[in-house]
């Protein structure tokens, strides 16, 4: 014979009270709010991250921490005040379950939905980059850790909502979250900035593998301590997560938010069939055919010319003596948008000016400047050249005279026979970068 006391409820029956909490009410709305906020915050400046895995990681991480955490705090805080608003607090006190399960039953759905909202937004961002990725590989640890951070923030917010009876508690908590995160993240030289979940890295560096998880332990430990202090039968239990959070905080502050260089950012992929060779940072390796194509006119005109740099390089820092700097590919959103070169002619002109290399000379001789401009025009004319010529044609007599002299120089270079021009260019590039006008061949 089976007595009622001896019968244990099935798993489905045990989960039944949780199902409505997950499916209806505020929890799905909170997840949708996080998703929508992050989606808009990421979609508006999509040009500046789409196509670069590191840029995508940076933007999704910054959005998750700076926008998602305050929103998760506010959502949790609102959920925490639910029983008070409905006047069902006393009724719940009569339930068989303890305070902790009752708390978790209303808190976990919001935390999970908030985390899911972020995961979907981060997943969409990764997909958006995947179809036009230019190299490198996706970074998934940081978004996963961010989802946990948002869930922890929602739990912490719920504790505040339970404890504070004030209509404005949720928005004020969120605004305070903004202020605290802004303060911690504003100055990365400050030792306390390591406590901010916002990891300040550049595109060429990533946080060390344990950093995101220790950050989760720091924020999650605080949230768990608050939950246990509010709801556990033995409140001293709250000390355990508090000690964990403190240890994580000490580790973060002492290590100062450690990052390591991404190996791929130090490598280049090169096309050695051209003169000069064209090298692109391996993070954007798939752009090499487009860049080589954009520079094909320039490299074709330089075939057989001596004294040129060996290659266009794309590493951090200044180029070596026998190298020229490839025009900037980053920040994304200018030269490169969604894995495509936006203005190949402009890019080729910038590459040409990098070869001439007299930008740092003060008081450049007008004749040398005219010669440089003629060489730039021959290699790859600027798309704006016609516009500036028209302006000069409408300008003062001095402007018009300079324009005529410049046009004569261009015509002389173009009018040379091919061998003669190669020899002249070889002589010219031997003086490229020299500020002394005496050695520069005239046109």
């Amino acid at each position: 014979m089976t007595t009622l006391l001896g019968r244990t409820p099935s798993t489905a029956a045990r989960a039944a009270p949780l199902r409505p909490e997950f499916r209806s009410g505020f929890a799905p709305l909170a997840g949708a709010a996080v998703l929508l906020t992050l989606a808009v915050a990421l979609a508006v400046p999509a040009e500046s991250w789409q196509g670069g895995w590191a840029e995508t990681r940076e933007h999704t991480h910054a959005a998750a921490v700076l926008l998602g955490i305050p929103l998760a705090l506010a959502a949790g805080c609102r959920q925490g005040g639910r029983e008070r608003r409905r006047g069902t607090g006393d009724l719940l006190e009569t339930a068989v379950r303890g305070a902790l399960p009752r708390f978790l039953a209303s808190a976990v759905p919001v935390a999970l939905w908030v985390a899911v909202g972020h995961l979907v937004a981060a997943g969409c961002a990764l997909l958006a980059t995947w179809y036009c990725a230019t190299g490198d590989s996706p970074y998934v640890v940081v978004p996963l850790a961010d989802s946990l951070l948002l869930g922890c923030a929602a739990l912490g917010g719920q504790v505040v909502g339970r404890a504070v009876s004030w209509r404005l508690a949720a928005p004020v908590l969120a605004t305070a979250g903004y202020a605290v995160l802004g303060f911690l993240s504003y100055d990365h030289d400050n030792a306390w900035s390591a406590l901010s979940p916002l990891i300040g890295t550049s595109a060429g560096r990533v946080p060390v593998w344990w950093q995101p998880w220790v950050s989760v332990a720091w924020v999650g430990g605080l949230a768990a301590a608050a939950v246990l202090a509010l709801t556990a039968r033995r409140r001293a239990l709250a000390l355990v997560p508090l000690v964990c959070a403190t240890a994580a905080a000490v580790l973060l502050v002492q290590s100062g938010g450690p990052t390591r260089p991404v190996p791929v950012a130090g490598r280049q992929v090169c096309d050695t069939s051209t003169t000069p060779q064209v090298c692109v940072n391996a993070r954007y390796g798939k752009l090499l055919p487009q860049i080589t194509g954009a520079l094909s006119g320039l490299t074709g005109r330089l075939e057989g010319v001596d004294n040129l740099p060996v290659r266009f390089e794309d590493r951090a820092g200044r180029p070596r003596a026998d190298e020229a700097e490839l025009p900037m590919v980053v920040p994304l959103g200018w030269s490169v948008v969604r894995g495509r070169l936006t203005e190949p002619e402009q890019y080729a002109w910038e590459a040409g000016t990098a070869l001439v290399g007299r930008a740092g000379c003060d008081g450049l001789d007008p004749a040398v400047a005219r010669t440089d401009a003629a060489v730039e025009h021959y290699l790859a004319p600027s798309p704006q050249e016609k516009h500036f010529d028209e302006l000069a044609a409408q300008g003062s007599p001095a402007d018009r005279a300079e324009l005529r002299a410049g046009q004569r120089a261009r015509a002389r270079l173009l009018g040379m026979a091919q061998d003669e021009r190669r020899a002249w260019l070889s002589e010219y590039f031997a003086t490229a970068g020299d500020c002394d006008p005496s050695g520069v061949p005239a046109l």
Binding site: V44, P45, L71, R82, P171, T175
Partner: protein
């Protein structure tokens, strides 16, 4: 309405607390604008010009809550005048107080931008109160301000689209028009329908 009517109305809508919240927001905004050294670069006022109207709008939005929504609807007298007066008075107060934080230099993120943002944020909040209830009316404006604050910094060019009215530096006509439309539509909807009754 007798003489005690307005007093009871003000107490039932937590207006004293809302006034205190608006005053505290103003003090915090003045302090933040000062500590950000905004006189050096008006761009530094962006957090103040974006967040202060947000906090003021959430305070105004939560004051639209009525504890006896269904009972209120049985009243003989029309509510729209009280609702409209309530909303207009608080908005006017916020629009008068918050610009005190950004008085130096009106051209970039100055007093006109602050007033515009107060109007837009309050309009959004009032509209959200009709749809979601007054207690949750802060959520859409909070999401909007958050998304704009981060997203618009990546936009190229100087002229922002109409939906980015919050962060238009000058007194651009498009941004003002959007904020005015938001305030008219949101405020009008609240005056006519009232906040949705929600627990």
């Amino acid at each position: 309405m007798t003489g005690t009517g307005p007093v009871l109305y003000a107490r039932s809508r937590a207006l004293p607390q809302t006034l205190a919240a608006l005053a505290a927001t103003t003090v915090l905004a003045v302090w933040a604008a000062h500590s950000l050294d905004s006189y050096l670069d008006p761009e530094r006022r962006v957090p103040v010009v974006a967040l202060a109207p947000l906090v003021a709008a959430t305070a105004i939005g939560t004051s639209l809550h009525s504890a006896s929504e269904e009972l209120d609807r049985t009243a003989v007298r029309p509510w729209w005048r009280r609702r409209l007066t309530h909303l207009l008075c608080l908005t006017a107060l916020a629009a008068a107080l918050l610009p005190l934080a950004v008085l130096s230099g009106a051209r970039t993120f100055g007093a006109p931008a602050m007033v515009r943002n107060v109007l837009g944020c309050v309009g959004l909040t009032a509209g959200a109160a009709v749809v979601l209830g007054a207690r949750l009316s802060w959520l859409p404006v909070f999401g909007y301000v958050s998304a704009m604050y981060m997203g618009v910094s990546g936009l190229r060019g100087t002229s922002l689209p109409a939906w980015a009215w919050l962060l238009e530096p000058g007194a651009g006509g498009g941004a003002w028009a959007t904020a005015a439309v938001l305030f008219t539509v949101g405020g009008g909807a609240y005056a006519v329908k009232g906040a949705r009754g929600a627990p």
